[in-house]
Symmetry: C2
Subunit: 519 residues, 2 copies
C-alpha cells in the first residue's frame, strides 16, 4: 500500500493510511463532520426471574462474559491514581491465558504501570485512552512496545466513538463504589466513593457485556442509581476497588505558585473585559496550573458585582462546590469528581448534577453541555503561533499528558482562554509549531501568560473589547520572540518514521500523529 502524506487543516503532516488504524480522515475544522447514519446498535439481552448476577469471583465473570482473544475491554478512571480495578482485571485476563486485548479506557494513570508487562507479553495489543503518563508512555513513545499506535480521544470524542461504533466494547469493567445485587450502582456511597460516574455511563449503554466490580455490595434496590441494572450483566465483589485518597493527587491541585496566581488574575481580567461575566453565564476551568486559580479571582468579581452564574461544569473540585454553596452558580454539571469534598457534595446537593461523558462533551449529542459554555479556561504544555495547543507530549516528544475535555470545551465555549507561563525550567512554551496538536488553534481565543496577553487574530471582536478595557495586548509572535531571547530557540526532537500515537479530534478525524522518538 502506498503511504501518502497530506497536510490537514491544523497544518500537520498525516499519512492517508496508518498501519494498525486504517484509512485516515484528516481534521477539517471544529464542526466540519456532520453526524450521519445510525448509532451503534448493541446486542439485545434480557433477564429471567430468579437470575443471579452476583458471581463468586472475577474469573467467573470474565468466563461468563465470553471474553476471547482479540476482543476489546473498557475501563474508567474516576479513581485516577487510586484505581485498583484495571490492574486486577488485566492480571486475571493474563492468568486466564487470554491475549490480543484492546483496552479502551477513559484515561490511564500512573497506577496502571503494570500494563507495561501485559503489553510486552502480548496480553494487551491495543490502547485507546484520553491520556498516558509515566513508564507506559515512555515505553510506547521511545520503544514502541505496543507495535501499533495508541488512539488518543478527548472525553467527548470517546463518547462519540462508542456511540458511533468506531470502537465496539465487548466487555466493560466498571469500578462501582456501591452496587446492589442486580447491578444498580453509584459512585457516591461506600468506602471507595469517588463521586459521579460520567465516563462508564456511556460504556454501560453500548458494551455487549457489563461487569460491575464493587467493594460495597448492598441489597436490591439501590435507590440512588447512576448506572442502572438494565445495563449490567454481572456483579463481582472484591476487597477494595481502589484508594480514594489518591484521587485528588495529580492534576487537580489549586496552585500557590505566584506566577500562576498572577496569570490567573490577568485571565480573570480578560474574562471580565469580554463582557461575558454576567448573570446566567456558564463557566469551566480545566484542572492543573493556573487554571483553577482563575475561579478565585472570578469569585471576587462576581461577589462585588452581585453576579450569579448559570452553571460551572467539568471535573468538579472542592473550590467549585464552595462557589455553588455560596450561591454564585445555580448548578454544577459534573462528569468527574476530583476530590472528597466534591464527592460529598454530589451525594447531598441536588444542584450538583451528575452527567455522562456524552452529555458533557460529545459533539454528536443533542444536548452537549460543553456547547453551552460561555467561557473555558485551559492549561497547556505548549502553544504555537497559530494558537494550537499541546497537552499530550512534552518538548522531548515523549507522551506525558492527556486530551481530557480540552478539545471539546474549546470548540464549545464562546471564549476559550489558555493560561500558561511563558517558560518551564527555561524551556519556552510558545513555539512556531507545537510538538503535537491536541486542541486546534482555531478553537482557542486568548493566551494569558505572566509576560503578556495574546489574542487570536481571528477574534477581532475580542481585541476591540480588550483595548476598550485598557488591557494591553501583544501579538503571539512578539511574545514568542521576547521569551526566546531569554531561553534560546528550543531544540527540535528527532523522530523515527513509526507512528506510536494518533490524536483523534472529537469528531473522529485525525488531528495529529505522534511518532516514535529517536533513541
Amino acid at each position: 500500500m502506498k503511504k501518502e502524506i497530506f497536510i490537514n487543516r491544523a497544518g500537520r503532516e498525516i499519512p492517508t493510511y496508518i498501519e494498525g488504524y486504517g484509512d485516515v480522515k484528516g481534521y477539517e475544522g471544529p464542526f466540519a463532520v456532520e453526524p450521519t447514519g445510525e448509532k451503534y446498535a448493541p446486542q439485545k439481552s434480557g433477564s429471567k426471574p430468579g437470575l443471579k448476577k452476583v458471581l463468586s469471583n472475577l474469573k467467573e465473570a470474565i468466563q461468563n462474559s465470553g471474553l476471547k482473544d482479540g476482543m476489546t475491554v473498557s475501563f474508567h478512571h474516576h479513581l485516577r491514581n487510586g484505581d485498583y480495578v484495571l490492574n486486577m482485571v488485566m492480571d486475571e485476563i493474563a492468568n486466564m491465558g487470554i491475549k490480543d486485548i484492546t483496552i479502551c479506557a477513559s484515561s490511564l494513570t500512573k497506577a496502571h504501570e503494570p500494563l507495561v508487562e501485559h503489553i510486552k507479553n502480548g496480553v494487551v495489543t491495543g490502547l485507546e485512552t484520553s491520556g498516558l503518563r509515566g513508564n507506559i508512555a515512555k515505553e510506547i513513545a521511545k520503544n514502541n512496545i505496543l507495535g501499533k499506535p495508541v488512539i488518543f480521544r478527548s472525553h467527548g470524542g470517546r463518547a462519540r466513538a462508542i456511540e458511533a461504533g468506531d470502537v465496539k466494547i465487548d466487555v466493560a469493567f466498571i469500578a462501582a463504589p456501591t452496587c446492589d445485587t442486580m447491578g444498580n450502582m453509584n459512585g457516591k456511597d461506600g468506602k471507595s466513593a469517588f463521586g459521579v460516574m460520567g465516563y462508564p455511563m456511556v460504556d454501560a449503554k453500548y458494551a455487549a457485556k457489563v461487569i460491575a466490580i464493587t467493594d460495597n455490595l448492598v441489597a436490591f434496590p439501590l435507590v440512588d442509581v447512576s448506572i442502572s441494572m438494565s445495563d449490567v450483566d454481572y456483579v463481582v465483589v472484591v476487597d477494595s476497588i481502589g484508594d480514594p485518597e489518591k484521587i485528588a493527587t495529580g492534576a487537580t491541585r489549586v496552585t500557590k505558585n505566584p506566577t500562576d496566581l498572577l496569570i490567573a488574575e490577568e485571565a480573570a481580567k480578560v474574562l471580565v473585559a469580554s463582557g461575558l461575566v454576567k448573570d446566567g453565564f456558564a463557566f469551566q476551568a480545566g484542572s492543573g496550573g493556573a487554571s483553577l486559580a482563575v475561579c478565585k479571582f472570578l469569585r471576587e468579581y462576581m461577589e462585588s458585582n452581585q453576579i450569579k452564574g448559570s452553571f460551572a461544569a467539568g471535573g468538579i473540585t472542592a473550590y467549585l462546590v464552595e462557589l455553588l454553596e455560596a450561591g454564585l452558580f445555580n448548578a454544577l454539571l459534573d462528569v468527574q469528581t476530583f476530590d472528597g469534598a466534591a464527592a460529598s457534595s454530589v451525594d447531598r446537593n441536588r444542584n450538583h448534577v451528575e452527567m455522562s461523558a456524552s452529555t458533557y462533551a460529545n459533539p454528536h449529542n443533542k444536548g452537549c453541555s460543553a456547547h453551552q459554555l460561555d467561557m473555558m479556561i485551559l492549561s497547556a504544555t505548549e502553544i504555537d503561533t497559530d494558537f494550537n495547543i499541546n497537552s499530550i507530549t512534552g518538548s522531548t516528544g515523549i507522551i506525558m499528558g492527556a486530551l481530557g475535555g480540552a478539545p471539546d470545551t474549546a470548540a464549545g465555549a464562546n471564549l476559550t482562554v489558555v493560561v500558561a507561563p511563558t517558560m518551564r525550567k527555561r524551556i519556552p512554551i510558545i513555539l512556531d509549531k507545537v510538538t503535537n496538536v491536541a486542541t486546534p488553534g482555531e478553537t482557542i481565543d486568548v493566551l494569558v501568560t505572566e509576560r503578556g496577553i495574546c489574542i487570536n487574530p481571528r477574534r477581532t471582536d475580542l481585541i476591540e473589547k480588550m483595548e476598550l478595557a485598557g488591557i494591553e495586548l501583544k501579538t503571539i509572535e512578539h511574545l514568542k520572540n521576547e521569551v526566546e531571547i531569554l531561553t534560546g530557540k528550543p531544540e527540535r526532537v528527532s523522530y523515527e518514521d513509526t507512528i506510536v500515537g494518533i490524536i483523534e479530534y472529537r469528531d473522529g478525524t485525525v488531528l495529529d500523529v505522534i511518532r516514535q522518538v529517536k533513541a
Copy 2:
C-alpha cells in the same frame, strides 16, 4: 395470500398472516422468545454552540421534525384523563394536512375521544397502545373505523418493541410539566406535575426526533432531570399540557365496596400462607377493584409481625407512599404516578425511585424489575378455567380496557394472584374461555373471589401450602359451575371475520386477536 389458522399455546385461533400487521408468530410460552440480534439503532444527531431548541409554536416544531404522511408519532399517558397534549398535537397535524399517521401511545384514555374524527378523516391510520376505552374503542370494535387492527402491547412489551425496532418512532411528543431551554425535563415540578416519566423515557432514547411540550419552561440547567437534553430536539411552550386533577380518576381508586374488601382480605391470607411475606419481599398490586385494597390487609400483617419489605412497584398511589413512609418498604419503584400525593413523594423522597418502562417490565432488559417481584395482585374482567385473564374486552366483545403491566408482572412474579368478584351485574366472571386473552393462564397462580379461592393446578407447591394453612380451596371448574347456577350460562358474542385488534404478548408474539363485533 392464503390465510391459514393455527392454535397458539394460549389455545386461541390465530391467522398466520394478518392484513395491516403481517406474518404472525404465535405465543409459545412466557419465556419462549430469547432476545437475539441487535437493538434498534436510532439516527445520529448533534448540537452546535448557539443552538436554540425553543421554537415559537407546535406547528414550527412539527415542521422542523420533518413529520410526513405515513410516519409514526408517539405519546405517553402520564396525564391520563387530564391529558391535553395528544389532542393538541393531532389537531395541529390534521391542520397541517398530514395524513396516514400511526400513533404509538403508552395508552389512550377517554380524554382522547377526538381521535375518532382524525381516524375517520384518514389523519390517523394506525394505533398501537396498551389500552382503549370509550367511543374510540366502540367505533373500532363495532365499525372498524381504523380499517386495520389496533396493536395492543403491555407496558413492558411496548418498551421491548421500541428497543427492538418493531415500532420505529419518527417523532415523539412528550408532555413535560417542567422543561428547560435545552430540553432537560421532569414530571415532578410545575403546575401540571404528574410524577415520574417512566413511559416516554423509552421513546426519547429511540425516536428520530423528540419534541418536548411544556407549560413550565425554566432556565438551563434544570437539575432534577428525568429525560435529558441529550435526547431532545425541540421545546414548545403551551398554556397548559393538561389537568393534573384528572390523573387520579379512573382506575386508581381504592375500593370501599364490601365484596372487594372481603376478597382483598382473603387474598392477603393467601399471600401470608404462601410464606413469601417475609423480610425483603417485593410486592406489586395493579390498579382498580380489590387489587389496591390488598395492601391494607398486608400492612396489618407486616406491622404486627414486624416485617419490612424490599420494594413495592408499579403505578404508585398515595397508599403505597404511606407504606414507604411507615417504613414497611425500603423503596418504591415507580413507572407511573397515580395521584398528587405520590407525585409529591417522588419529588422529595429519595427512596421513591423513578424507573423507565423498560426497566419496569421489558423482558429483554438486563434488569427487568417485574422479574424481581415476589408477589403480584391483578384485577380481571374475566378469567377462564385455564386461568387465562381478560382485561381488555368486555363480555360484549367490545374493547374497554388495557393490558397495562399485567402480562409483564404475572410472568415475572413468583406468585400472581387475581382478585375478582365472581359476577358483575349478574354476568359471571369465570368462563370456559375468556372473550380475549390478555395475560396467559400459565402465568397466573391463584384466583381469589368472594365465593372461594382457586389455585392453578400447575402450582402443586402452593396447593400444599394453602392446605397446611387451613385455607379452603375450590377447583376453578367447581367455582364456575357454582356461579353459573346463579347467573346462567353467558351468551356468546357473535363476530365478523375482520380482525380489529391484535394482542401481542410482551415478547412480540401474538397472544390473541380481537374480531369485529357483529352489529
